[in-house]
């Protein structure tokens, strides 16, 4: 079998394409579901103490082969005017902790005094994840009302939104005193990227369903209906994500490389398959049908996304019509991908990547294990390299940036900073706002070109160590250049400070790796998504081993 080349970073790592990313079977929530199904994780309600209005505390215990984890959930009254998606909100409908083990009464009391405060609380190494979520108010109430009347809610309305609650932050890795990632990284069930966070959201999903059932039952104990199984499975958890998450892919170049490399390797493997078997064709058709159904319900007020979604729907119609013909060709998946590349929008091309991977778990799922990185090797600076070689490597890796003229205001229009008020990353306008002197080191292309220019002033044979001894201000750029030279998917190939930058493109790429769907940009810098919609419920996986996940 002849290999197919990986799509190169100059194609893959452009912001426009990142902003069209779709979840795949390698996405983190899919990896979690597969493991939980394979290992038959069991979930039970350890504590369910809610009043008639749904306020109180709930603990779900998840038993994995080696350990027990618990979602500790608190539901509290919230004035409508305080309900905000912004990370700067100070109160929420619900708050959560993923606890390492089974909490006792003292732990629950301690968490109840802290979790509803979120960032203003303090946590211990027994807490692995901290999160909060707000109700999708109108929908939540409509569903509770319908169920209390013994009826199922309106399906179109329900699935049009896709979730009952929306998380506005899910914190891991040591934030506010919770456990460091290092403490759980060696546990197989949490070793992969964001597995603890995905487990938390998966459990929150079950809580949202139990919460609405509970409220309906309290309103009408004799006659309330329970939300129907197919609707439970269709609903996910919403999420609102803003600028705070945008620098992540830039700040974790080795991890970013590992994610993209795994996905691109998977795609190349599938494209190299000589033919499409019956089972793969069926799985593809099912995935295509499912995606078309989702696209028909994919709503966004963002005109750009709405137009992209319409184009996607058209392209998927074309794909459906052309499918038999494409799959009859030699190397059918490659033919399909190339057809998409030639005829479809970026949104549909990336959807096709996801669809092509879907039937091929046996061929690609093990790549999921490679989607993590020890960032330590990236810390080392190779000072023995000479300045000429580093400059050459820079100009090679950043050739895509060569035409950007940073003397032009539009190319240099923005700066990333940390807000004193909220301690969160923000994007400022360099020529209109104060603070550019405190710019964060996220101007990757500008700094790479600046470093190349500084190196040009050095004797070619001078060592990088000697250069950095005199010019320590370039240390971060040298480190990055040496990483990018070895790890080609480590860098986004676009200007991170240009006037045209749309941070939502970065957010979407990261969220697609999580497994997010229903991307709904609310501006150029924040968006809403859904996680786990259409996926199995965590309480069902113990009894569904063998089913495809």
């Amino acid at each position: 079998m002849t290999a197919i080349a990986l799509r190169p970073p100059e194609v893959v790592m452009r912001l426009q394409r990142l902003g069209a990313a779709h979840p795949t079977r390698l996405s983190f929530l899919r990896q979690l579901i597969r493991r939980a199904t394979r290992e038959r994780w069991r979930v039970r309600k350890h504590l369910f103490d809610l009043d008639d209005h749904g306020f109180g505390r709930v603990v779900y215990a998840v038993e994995t082969p080696a350990r027990t984890y618990s979602l500790v959930a608190f539901s509290t009254p919230l004035d409508d005017e305080k309900r905000s998606d912004r990370v700067i909100a100070q109160a929420w409908d619900t708050s959560y902790v993923l606890y390492d083990g089974l909490p006792d009464a003292a732990d629950i009391a301690r968490l109840e005094a802290n979790a509803p405060l979120q960032e203003a609380g303090r946590y211990t190494s027994r807490e692995l994840v901290l999160a909060r979520a707000n109700k999708s108010v109108r929908l939540f109430e409509d569903v509770a009302t319908a169920l209390a009347q013994g009826q199922q809610p309106d399906e179109e309305q329900l699935l049009g939104v896709g979730y009952l609650l929306r998380t506005t932050a899910v914190y891991g890795n040591g934030k506010f005193g919770i456990a460091d990632r290092d403490e759980i990284a060696a546990r197989p069930e949490l070793a992969g990227s964001f597995q603890a966070e995905m487990l938390t959201v998966w459990l929150i999903r079950s809580f949202t369903l139990d919460l609405v059932d509970h409220i309906a039952h309290c309103r009408n104990p004799a006659g309330a209906a329970r939300l129907a199984p197919d609707l439970r499975r269709a609903l996910g958890v919403g999420n609102a994500t803003g600028l705070g998450m945008a620098p992540f892919l830039v700040r974790h170049p080795l991890l970013t490389h590992s994610w993209f490399l795994a996905r691109e390797t998977a795609l190349a493997r599938v494209r190299a398959e000589p033919q499409a078997g019956e089972a793969e064709r069926d799985a593809f058709s099912n995935a295509l049908t499912d995606l078309r159904r989702r696209v028909a319900r994919w709503h966004s007020d963002d005109s750009r996304q709405a137009a992209a979604t319409r184009l996607l729907a058209d392209d998927l119609d074309t794909l459906t019509e052309s499918l038999d013909q494409l799959l009859a060709k030699p190397r059918p998946w490659d033919a399909l991908y190339r057809f998409a590349e030639d005829h479809f929008s970026l949104e549909a091309q990336e959807a096709c990547v996801s669809l092509i991977l879907e039937p091929h778990g046996a061929l690609i799922d093990e790549l999921g294990d490679t989607m993590k990185a020890d960032e330590t090797p990236g810390h080392t600076v190779d000072g023995g390299m000479n300045c000429g070689s580093l400059r050459h490597a820079l100009l090679d890796c950043y050739s895509w940036a060569a035409d950007i003229d940073f003397a032009h205001p539009a190319a240099n229009a923005r700066f990333w900073y940390v807000s004193a008020e909220k301690l969160e990353p923000r994007l400022g306008e360099r020529f209109e706002e104060d603070g550019a002197e405190l710019e964060q080191p996220l101007a990757t292309a500008r700094d790479a070109l600046g470093l190349a220019a500084a190196l040009a002033q050095e004797p070619s044979s001078a060592s990088v160590a000697d250069f950095l001894l005199r010019r320590p201000e370039w240390r971060h750029a040298v480190r990055r250049a040496q990483i990018v030279a070895k790890f080609p998917y480590a860098e986004i190939h676009d200007n991170m400070i240009g006037a045209e930058l749309r941070p939502v493109d970065i957010l979407r790429a990261k969220l697609a790796f999580f497994g997010a769907r229903s991307f709904d940009p609310r501006s150029d810098r924040w968006l809403r998504i859904a996680l786990f919609s259409g996926e199995p419920l965590i309480e069902d996986v113990a009894t569904m081993a063998g089913e495809p996940a």
């Binding site: 309900r83 998606d85 040591g174 005193g177 706002e433 405190l438 950095l468 320590p472 750029a477």
Partner: protein
């Protein structure tokens, strides 16, 4: 005392280092070294605060002095303590040849930082240096690099934490009405 996660230790120290005037790249190195100090010693907060407070007063290593170290010549004092961070970065970027070790470096400021920074290499400081403000140190070759340390937290008292936060705050930009409005998105209440 407040118990910080090691990630908080690293993030806080990197910001404080930047706020104290170290370059972004060195601030990253300092954050990681702080993690190592926090794992092994209870005084990581004071060590970081001393580093931030003295950041501008250290002697910087220069090419001539570095060349002497490599050639095995005896080191010379300059009267001011040597910056432990710049010295460590130099040694890490271009490790000493085996024949140059053990190497005596004279009058290193806050040598705990030199020690912590070198932990990720095969070079090490020969004797525990503790919280000394300046000391002569001997760099020797070690058998292997240390694994990143885990399974500990970083306890810190409130005054020291507040002092470090004020260094970190030098890297923050105050919000203006304009930036608040543009900020991370809309500022509206959710009614959906």
């Amino acid at each position: 005392m407040i118990d910080l996660s090691l990630n908080e230790v690293e993030t806080l120290c990197a910001k404080a280092a930047r706020g104290a005037g170290f370059s972004w790249g060195l601030a990253e190195d300092i954050g990681r070294a702080a993690r190592r100090i926090a794992v092994e010693a209870d005084n990581w907060g004071l060590a970081m605060l001393s580093l931030a407070e003295h950041a501008q007063s250290f002697e910087l290593p220069d090419a001539a002095r570095a060349a002497r170290w490599r050639s095995g010549e005896v080191d010379q004092r300059t009267g001011r303590p040597l910056c432990p961070i710049r010295t460590a970065a130099l040694l890490l970027d271009e490790p000493l040849p085996a024949h140059a070790m053990p190497l005596a470096i004279l009058d290193v400021g806050l040598p705990i930082w030199l020690d912590a920074m070198l932990r990720r290499s095969v070079m090490g400081v020969a004797r525990p240096v503790g919280p000394a403000t300046r000391a002569d140190v001997v760099i020797e070759r070690r058998a292997e690099t240390e694994l990143p340390a885990t399974r500990r937290r970083g306890a810190i008292d409130e005054p020291t934490l507040a002092a470090l936060n004020s260094f970190a705050a030098r890297t923050y930009v105050p919000e203006s009405e304009r930036s608040r409005a543009r900020g991370a998105g809309g500022g509206r209440v959710d009614d959906e």
